[in-house]
Symmetry: C2
């Protein structure tokens, strides 16, 4: 599973064998079963998680018990409660497994250490963060500008492979539309 991580880094910056071994030594491999939690609201956030295998979601539960999905993550993506992770505060989100999952875990201490020691790793994470920022801006525009049908079509175009792996209820929660509306659209 280290091969996936190396490929992932090398999409942005080449690393030598020695560098990669050193980088990898800061990660911990973990496996989770479907429905297990990686992060629970109210607890500390142990890591950022690089997904080697499987599918997860990060979601918020409001006072009425309603769930809002902030993020999905499949192979080659990262997932965490980033507000809590970066600010070292309690989680406000939950992250759980929608399938059997294998992840590589990176604590904030190890991330900061690697970024300080290796300029190219700081570069890697800056580029990842910029790309994430752009994706979130696009999602905000989609929420402001698009009706349920347009949101669903955009999701289909952006993440065709996710559609097969996700129950409609969860896609509806991610898009901020009702399940009934989505069922009508995707029938």
């Amino acid at each position: 599973m280290s091969l996936e991580l190396r490929k992932h880094f090398e999409k942005i910056t080449p690393v030598t064998d020695a560098e990669f071994d050193y980088i990898l030594s800061h990660f911990v491999v973990k496996k989770f079963k479907k429905h297990q939690f990686l992060i629970q609201a109210g607890s500390a956030v142990p890591s950022d998680f690089f997904v080697v295998k499987g599918l997860l979601r990060a979601y918020y539960i409001n006072e009425d018990g309603k769930e809002h999905i902030l993020q999905f993550a499949m192979e080659d993506w990262w997932i965490s409660d980033y507000q809590a992770y970066f600010n070292k505060t309690e989680a406000t989100l939950n992250v759980d497994c929608l399938e059997e999952v294998e992840v590589l875990c990176l604590s904030i201490q190890n991330r900061d250490k690697l970024c300080a020691e290796l300029h190219k790793i700081e570069h890697f994470f800056r580029r990842k963060s910029n790309a994430g920022y752009i994706a979130l801006q696009r999602r905000i525009l989609c929420l402001l500008n698009n009706n349920a049908k347009e949101r669903f079509e955009q999701f289909l175009t952006q993440y065709p492979s996710l559609l097969q792996r996700l129950p409609k209820t969860l896609i509806a929660s991610y898009l901020g539309v009702s399940r009934e509306t989505l069922s009508r659209l995707s029938a």
Copy 2:
């Protein structure tokens, strides 16, 4: 106006006088009048803009001519069309001045150059990008979870100083609520 930029960098990382002079030499000072455009949809994006003075907005105009405001920026903030800036593509957003404006402009070439030459600048921009990512996630949750009243109250709490400087129409466009609704709430 270079003092503001130095203070801004030093919130995250100390810089020596020589380093700061070198950093500053990669920025260009510009002044704009109210209503002038810094970025227009369909054109190239010349810079990321650090706001020394004034107030700006970044917005998208959809096919029906409706405006959606993606971002405001006042003193000590940055604004651009980041998708176009980072990917070196045509702007899809407009950025214009809501007041008289003074900005320090940083081209993507100079940003990449500074980040490659000075590890601490790469660190600075990674930290800024992480903070921006978190703010956008909060906004998405606000859009998914909150009604017009709650969105307005959150805006008030987060940006009390912006309220005095912005017409209600623009706040409504930022929050994704109708102007009439907002007028009722803020009466």
